[in-house]
């Protein structure tokens, strides 16, 4: 009977382990499957196409070029490798001001023909139209080559404008840099503070203070990040704005501060645990040789706890990089490459949270957001591996 229960429990534990592993794997597979679709998606928004006159020598335009053209920033074909002619932009709506409803026929059956007429009449034209009105007879008209969104556009693209027409821009560089900048500054703030407080708790504070402070700090780790975000929004951002004399307090720096505050409890708690595992004998040995308390801390305790401290820091970073809500609330959410920490930025998690709701399922935007998730996953994976390496590293230098 006892043996039976034993094996039963063992099997249950094994099973739950397997289920967890499979779930995690499934999530990762799902993430990458959804994300990878992005590179099979057309650059031009789904269901639309871009037409030019057949004599136009331009064969294809990158999403960036398309955007510049339709924004009116590029006005001459020469810049795109064509003839020296001014570009005429033709937006689909214009067809309704050229022709009356009657001329376009019932259910717009004649619309493709009329489009053909208009486009073939002007060698400088560029037209952006729904795929379904594509003229059947492409005389005097040329469809620009349809390219898939490329890896380079995604990974080193400098602009993230998922709603741009005709071609949305999915360059993650601003988001990636935003994430790294905010996290990096946060870590720069959190490490000295966190390790400092950990040292204070483990080595300096008396037992009563420690018993009070440690649970309080651990409690901080449990506060929902929205609360931190709100705090950042109503307290930190205005302070930064005032002190820095800025137009806007919601900056990368505000995000870093909020993240640092959020990462602190993790760092403090784990680093303190690491320091408290140091045998009393080590401390005594150092003190008995005439080392001061401070010498003992930085020559014996910190090196001895270094792998634990490193793990604490990495876990803190992990929280900072993946954090969504708080950062979403205080960084100002401008998806541009930041020049300084006092500018608005937008991080990857914040982007996913903010945009997933509006991105139509299965569309390029949706897939791009999943790809962002993959990037985030890889970043945190790297961090975990680093953490693993550091904490398994032998503390003794040979």
């Amino acid at each position: 009977m006892k043996r039976l229960i034993d094996t039963l429990i063992e099997q249950l534990i094994k099973m739950s382990g397997a289920v967890t592993e499979i779930t995690v794997l499934l999530i990762i597979v799902f993430l990458f499957k959804e994300g990878a679709g992005l590179f099979n998606a057309s650059e031009v928004e789904k269901g639309y196409t871009v037409l030019v006159h057949s004599e136009n020598t331009v064969e294809r335009l990158s999403p960036k070029e398309l955007k510049e053209v339709f924004d009116g920033n590029i006005e001459n074909w020469e810049k795109l490798g064509g003839k020296d002619e001014a570009i005429r932009i033709f937006r689909f709506d214009e067809i309704f001001s050229i022709y009356t409803e009657d001329e376009l026929g019932k259910d717009y059956v004649l619309l493709p023909e009329k489009l053909e007429e208009v486009i073939s009449a002007d060698p400088t034209i560029i037209a952006y139209i729904p795929q379904k009105y594509l003229p059947t007879n492409l005389q005097g008209i040329k469809e620009l080559a349809k390219m898939n969104i490329s890896l380079t556009d995604f990974y080193i693209g400098k602009e993230w404008i998922p709603t741009a027409t005709p071609a949305p821009l999915f360059g993650i560089l601003p988001l990636l840099l935003g994430t790294l900048l905010v996290s990096f500054i946060a870590i720069l703030i959190a490490i000295p503070l966190g390790v400092g407080v950990a040292i204070y708790l483990a080595e300096i504070a008396n037992e009563r203070v420690r018993k009070l402070l440690k649970p309080a700090i651990e409690l901080l780790a449990g506060i929902p990040s929205v609360v931190y975000g709100f705090f950042g929004l109503v307290v930190i951002a205005p302070i930064i704005q005032k002190i820095g004399g800025l137009d806007l307090g919601e900056t990368a720096f505000a995000g870093s501060l909020v993240l640092a505050i959020m990462a602190l409890p993790t760092i403090i708690s784990i680093a303190e645990d690491a320091m408290r595992t140091i045998p009393k004998a080590m401390r005594d040995a150092s003190l008995a040789l005439g080392a001061t308390k401070w010498q003992t801390i930085y020559k014996v305790i910190i090196p001895f706890a270094s792998s634990g401290i490193a793990a604490a820091v990495v876990l803190g970073i992990g929280r900072a990089i993946g954090e969504t809500m708080a950062v979403l609330m205080v960084t100002g959410n401008a998806a541009v490459i930041p020049n300084s920490i006092f500018e608005s930025v937008r991080t990857i998690p914040a982007t996913i949270a903010a945009e997933l709701g509006e991105a139509p399922g299965g569309g390029a935007h949706y897939q791009a957001l999943f790809m962002l998730g993959c990037v985030l996953f890889i970043i945190t994976l790297i961090i975990s591996i680093v953490a693993e390496v550091i904490s398994s590293r032998k503390i003794i230098k040979e």
């Binding site: 008396n206 080590m282 005594d284 040995a285 150092s286 008995a288 040789l289």
Partner: protein, 248 residues
């Protein structure tokens, strides 16, 4: 010369050392014996003020070393500890190289001269009878040494800062008989240059290494005399009982 005057020591309300008056001559070995929990370690730690680290502990009376009260407001505890070295019950080398272990005390005491440190490390390891065993692997981790070697390393580490007194708290209790014999031999040599106060559980060891022996019980100093006399003809009955093994 070490002297205690009416020393009482308390852990909170627990009276661990009771009115002890004792004088220890320089360049000799003094053994502290007595049953477990009688306060030997507590008494030993008074002389390098390691008891200071214990919260709620309190000292009454005076401790003098070489003509100075070591518990005044002006006493520099780090300088005191440089002069009064300590070897602990369990070998406790740092997780550093053999060399760095011995050099540690010099470095924390502000010595930067590489050549001097190197010289001092060799001298100390030689004095601790370890040099020949480790001279080719000074950069190896101290943890690669055997327990007995580690304890001698800890002795070398204590000697490196040139103390005049060495406190040893059951330094051989965690070691095998051969390592123990080596440590005892070492104490014999060291006591010509250093004052050695050694706590031991082992009667034979006390008899072998010390010039004088102090017997403690329940925090009181029961008897203190020449080792020979103590073991051959103790004055007190408790001492007699303890050394013949009828107690503790």
């Amino acid at each position: 010369m070490i002297e205690t005057k009416n020393v009482n020591f308390y852990y909170g309300s627990f009276h661990a050392i009771k009115n002890v008056n004792m004088k220890m001559k320089s360049n000799s070995a003094i053994a502290l014996i007595g049953p477990s929990g009688c306060g030997k370690s507590t008494f030993l730690r008074l002389f390098n003020r390691m008891n200071d680290e214990i919260p709620g502990a309190k000292l009454e009376g005076e401790c003098w070393i070489n003509g100075k009260d070591i518990y005044t407001k002006h006493t520099q505890v780090d300088m005191l500890r440089k002069n009064v070295g300590m070897v602990f019950q369990k070998p406790n080398p740092f997780p550093k190289s053999i060399f760095e272990n011995v050099a540690y005390g010099l470095k924390v005491n502000g010595i930067k001269d590489r050549a001097f440190i190197t010289k001092k490390v060799e001298e100390s390891l030689t004095a601790a009878a370890l040099w020949d065993e480790v001279k080719y692997k000074l950069n190896k981790s101290a943890f690669e040494l055997s327990g007995g070697q580690q304890q001698r390393l800890c002795i070398a580490r204590a000697l490196a800062v040139s103390p005049s007194i060495l406190l040893m708290d059951e330094p051989a209790s965690a070691l095998d008989p051969i390592s123990t014999a080596k440590i005892e031999e070492l104490i014999h040599v060291l006591k010509q240059q250093y004052t050695i106060v050694i706590v031991t559980h082992n009667m034979q060891q006390a008899a072998r290494v010390s010039d004088k022996t102090a017997f403690f019980m329940y925090g009181e100093l029961v008897e203190y005399s020449d080792t020979k006399k103590m073991f051959l003809a103790p004055e007190k009955e408790e001492t007699q009982n303890y050394i013949t093994g009828r107690f503790g």
